[in-house]
């Protein structure tokens, strides 16, 4: 309980300060802006309520992109990590390229993917998956390699095959590491979806933010951003819960 108390208090204080600064018009005045461009938390909450249907429809689109893209990324990440772990050749040949591939800015890739796959959900899923697979792959490879060498010797003399060693020893050993990679991916996934929507979309929270920003609907931009945060936190929380359910031996 006390674990939550302190951050909650800080958050409340920050929101309070923001409310004060925005409702008195201090920020708008300082920045020489029209007051409606600097919405207070109260106004954002109001906008959230007023536009609940519109926001919900668009959040649903983005949520699907995030969750499906995340799942794709996790499957691809584990699917890459296991062969990389099992094969020294792959570890030497593919792994460095994989790490180098992370220097490619995905923001640049997004419009190209839209050109290739169109305005549907395809490019969004691809970008979310591309963002998610990397932390999962790296964390899973590291986890698989973290096995106690004595356990490997013991298992070999107990007649375990390579597959049995992987399944009974290495995979469970890698689980905590895999989950930390997946949690990281969950936090990045909504950013990927927004990138994808900015490159070309007709719905979704990212799409809405882009339009509303042009229309100077600042309160609704904040409301949409808040929902993105909720999606990321929700996914993160679900993963933390799954981790606690799966790893019962700690």
């Amino acid at each position: 309980m006390s674990r939550w108390l302190l951050p909650a208090a800080v958050l409340a204080a920050l929101i309070g300060a923001w409310q004060l600064a925005a409702s008195t018009g201090a920020v708008a005045e300082a920045l020489d802006l029209a007051p409606y461009l600097v919405p207070s938390p109260g106004e954002i909450a109001d906008s959230l309520w007023q536009n609940r249907e519109l926001l919900a429809d668009n959040a649903w689109v983005t949520l699907k992109e995030v969750v499906l893209g995340f799942l794709l990324g996790v499957v691809a990440g584990v699917g890459l990590a296991v062969p990389i772990h099992l094969s020294g050749l792959l570890r030497r040949s593919i792994y460095p390229l994989l790490i180098a591939s992370q220097t490619i800015p995905l923001l640049v890739l997004a419009p190209i993917l839209v050109v290739w796959f169109g305005f549907g959900s395809g490019p969004k899923l691809a970008i979310v998956a591309l963002i998610c697979f990397f932390p999962v792959t790296v964390a899973t490879v590291a986890g698989l390699r973290a096995v106690d060498p004595e356990a490997i010797k013991m298992m070999r003399t107990l007649d375990a095959s390579r597959a049995q060693l992987l399944w009974r020893v290495e995979a469970p050993t890698a689980l905590p590491s895999f989950f930390s990679g997946a949690r990281l991916a969950a936090v990045f996934a909504p950013i990927g979806a927004v990138f994808g929507e900015w490159a070309g979309a007709d719905s979704g929270l990212g799409h809405m933010i882009l339009l509303d920003n042009g229309r100077l609907e600042t309160a609704r931009v904040f409301a949409a951003a808040l929902l993105l945060t909720v999606i990321a936190l929700g996914l993160y929380g679900l993963l933390a819960l799954a981790e606690r359910r799966v790893i019962r031996w700690r």
Binding site: E150, M155, R156, D159, Q164, I247, W249
Partner: protein
């Protein structure tokens, strides 16, 4: 090679040893081993008959653990002849040997009984059969009621018991134990030695026990070989006065035992250089 009757001594009939006509469970001749430039074992001879327990004592870094890995087929020696259960290749040695590492290395996600029956599962038993086989040993060796416990719920001594039963249940004719009780406190270690003595009388195997505890070696083993510092060589070898005697406390205070301990300790000291 699949052995389903793991609790039986697999060496009795049809073992590789019988096939090649050699009656030694382990036979080591002129063994030497190097790690790069570093010679860890030099010209070592050792013979171990079926059901014989041999203790290897020596200072840290004398190559005791390496020797166990060579015997188990986890490594290939640089030179010399090495025969375990009648087999010379690493795969044959691996098939004849079960290794118990220094720390219990119980898998934290498996219950005690699933840890103990790991070998049976590798060898193709279904979970239920494997558990049934292991449960019998749990009952016999004081682990009743702890079948479903996770390793973190067990005491150090119990963890070592589970680790030993895991080794035993492999059904292998040769057991390689690497300082099995080094991590336990003195009292528990004494209890565990008595426990292991009973377990081995009940279910005899050829055992290579590596330890740096002279008393442990002399109590548990039929024979004790003292190794020198690197490169490891046998500097003295002696028969234990009362191997695995039922009353451990009496056995280790008997005059012959004390004399043997003095002799081994002296050899150990000389071998340290």
């Amino acid at each position: 090679m699949v052995r389903t009757e793991a609790t039986e001594s697999a060496v009795q009939e049809g073992s590789p040893a019988a096939a090649t006509g050699s009656d030694a469970a382990v036979s080591i001749r002129g063994l030497h081993h190097c790690y790069g430039e570093l010679q860890t074992i030099e010209n070592l001879d050792l013979e171990l008959t079926e059901h014989e327990v041999i203790g290897l004592v020596g200072p840290s870094g004398c190559g005791k653990s390496t020797l166990l890995e060579l015997v188990c087929g986890l490594q290939e020696p640089s030179g010399g002849a090495l025969e375990v259960g009648g087999g010379r290749t690493a795969a044959e040695r691996l098939a004849a040997c079960a290794f118990m590492p220094q720390h219990d290395v119980l898998l934290p996600w498996l219950s005690a009984i699933d840890n103990a029956s790991l070998a049976l599962r590798s060898q193709g038993s279904r979970r239920r059969e494997a558990r049934a086989d292991a449960a019998e040993l749990f009952a016999r060796f004081g682990l009743d009621g702890f079948e479903a416990a996770l390793p973190r719920e067990l005491s150090g001594g119990m963890r070592q018991r589970v680790a030993f039963l895991r080794t035993l249940l492999s059904g292998k004719p040769v057991l390689a134990l690497d300082e099995p009780f080094a991590s336990l406190d003195a009292i528990t270690r004494g209890e565990m030695q008595a426990w292991l003595a009973r377990a081995l009388s009940d279910d005899p195997r050829a055992v290579v026990l590596v330890t740096h505890d002279v008393e442990e070696a002399l109590y548990l083993c039929d024979r004790v070989a003292v190794l020198s510092a690197r490169p490891g060589q046998i500097v003295d070898e002696m028969a234990a006065p009362a191997p695995r005697a039922p009353d451990r406390d009496a056995a280790v205070t008997a005059p012959e035992f004390v004399a043997a301990r003095e002799r081994a300790t002296a050899a150990l000291r000389k071998g340290m250089r």
